[in-house]
């Protein structure tokens, strides 16, 4: 039992006082404390500090934030939906135009012309600062649970 590190014992003793059961048992801790004055002193100080902290209360905010937040909510909606939907409508119109041009008979477009739709899509996502390959981990986790 004397092989136990002082820090492990003090940490475990504090955890037990907090209501958490660590790997060390209470018996192991007691045996160590009986022979280690340093640990007893340290634990005494930390437990006193904990007791004092338990009597303290958090100072809560008294400020009212709604008016400042409310002013920004319509702006939030606009940036998240209007800008995106308008951009995708423009993208759709451009792709449709591309398709119509491509259907014109007897026109020999160069090989590079086939990359135009890809460039349009890349340009749209760059403008929106969106990553089309991004996975929303929070949504994935919710789905799993």
């Amino acid at each position: 039992m004397s092989d136990l590190k002082c820090e492990s014992v003090s940490m475990a003793a504090m955890a037990i006082a907090d209501g958490y059961q660590p790997e060390l048992s209470s018996q192991q801790i007691e045996i160590h404390l009986a022979s280690c004055a340093n640990c007893r002193e340290e634990l005494g100080q930390l437990q006193e500090l904990s007791s004092l902290l338990d009597t303290q209360e958090r100072r809560l905010g008294t400020e009212t934030l709604w008016l400042k937040i409310e002013r920004r909510l319509p702006e939030v909606n606009r940036t998240s939906t209007s800008r995106g939907s308008a951009s995708f409508m423009v993208l759709g119109a451009l792709l449709l135009g591309y398709r119509l041009v491509e259907l014109i008979p007897d026109r020999d477009f160069s090989f590079l012309f086939k990359f135009v739709p890809v460039l349009l899509v890349i340009a749209a996502f760059s403008y929106l600062r969106e990553n089309p390959f991004k996975i929303n981990s929070e949504l994935s986790l919710e789905g799993e649970s």
Binding site: E7, S10, M11, A12, M14, A15, D18, G19, Y20, P22, G44, Q45, L46, E48, L49, S50, L52, L53, D54, T55, Q56, E57, R58, R59, L60, G61, T62, E63, T64, L65, W66, K68, I69, E70, R72, L73, P74, V76, N77, S80, N136, E138, L139, E142
Partner: protein, 180 residues
């Protein structure tokens, strides 16, 4: 109106319903942000931004879960983003008593020293100690809220309290029954 009803109305496009959420949780959120940032002015900015972030992400909130623990994650992300964005943090003057409320269990001068010692801790240590002792969260609740194992909570809490004790000793704090 309960939280879920307000959130459903927000999702349906009624921004005014978000007022219920803001007014219900702003006091607590400001208290939590102040404990992390050590500065009430920055805390107010962080809380505002966090409410905006939460509003934008309301679709991701599972209504079977309580709002505030979910919001707390959003809030602390905002706080740490703000804290790390600054080269040197400007802490509040300890005379202001921004983290702790006045308490009858401790003399005012010791209360000031305790606040000062807490402001000298890292934001992470201060957050953990205040959640444990001022809010009374269990290790399991702390682990869920901070996204780390309970063993990590045990270790970080132990070392955080030791640092706090050392700072109090340096400040000649006399509010404990034992000598530091």
């Amino acid at each position: 109106m309960d939280d879920n009803a307000a959130i459903e109305r927000c999702r349906a496009g009624d921004n005014e319903a978000f007022r219920h959420i803001v007014e219900r949780y702003q006091a607590e959120a400001i208290g939590h942000a102040t404990a992390i940032l050590g500065n009430r002015e920055d805390a107010l900015d962080a809380v505002q931004e966090a409410f905006i972030d939460a509003f934008q992400a309301l679709d991701q909130l599972d209504l079977n879960r309580r709002f505030y623990p979910w919001f707390y994650v959003v809030l602390r992300n905002r706080c740490y983003k703000l804290a790390h964005g600054r080269q040197k943090r400007e802490m509040s003057n300890a005379d202001d008593m921004e983290i702790l409320a006045a308490a009858a269990t401790i003399r005012p001068e010791n209360s000031m020293l305790l606040e000062q010692a807490m402001l000298e801790l890292s934001a992470e240590d201060r957050e953990l100690i205040t959640l444990r002792h001022l809010d009374g969260l269990s290790y399991q609740e702390l682990a869920e809220r901070l996204g780390v194992p309970q063993g990590t909570i045990m270790s970080r809490l132990y070392h955080g309290r030791k640092k706090l004790r050392d700072r109090l000793a340096r400040l000649s704090f006399t509010g404990l029954k034992v000598e530091l």
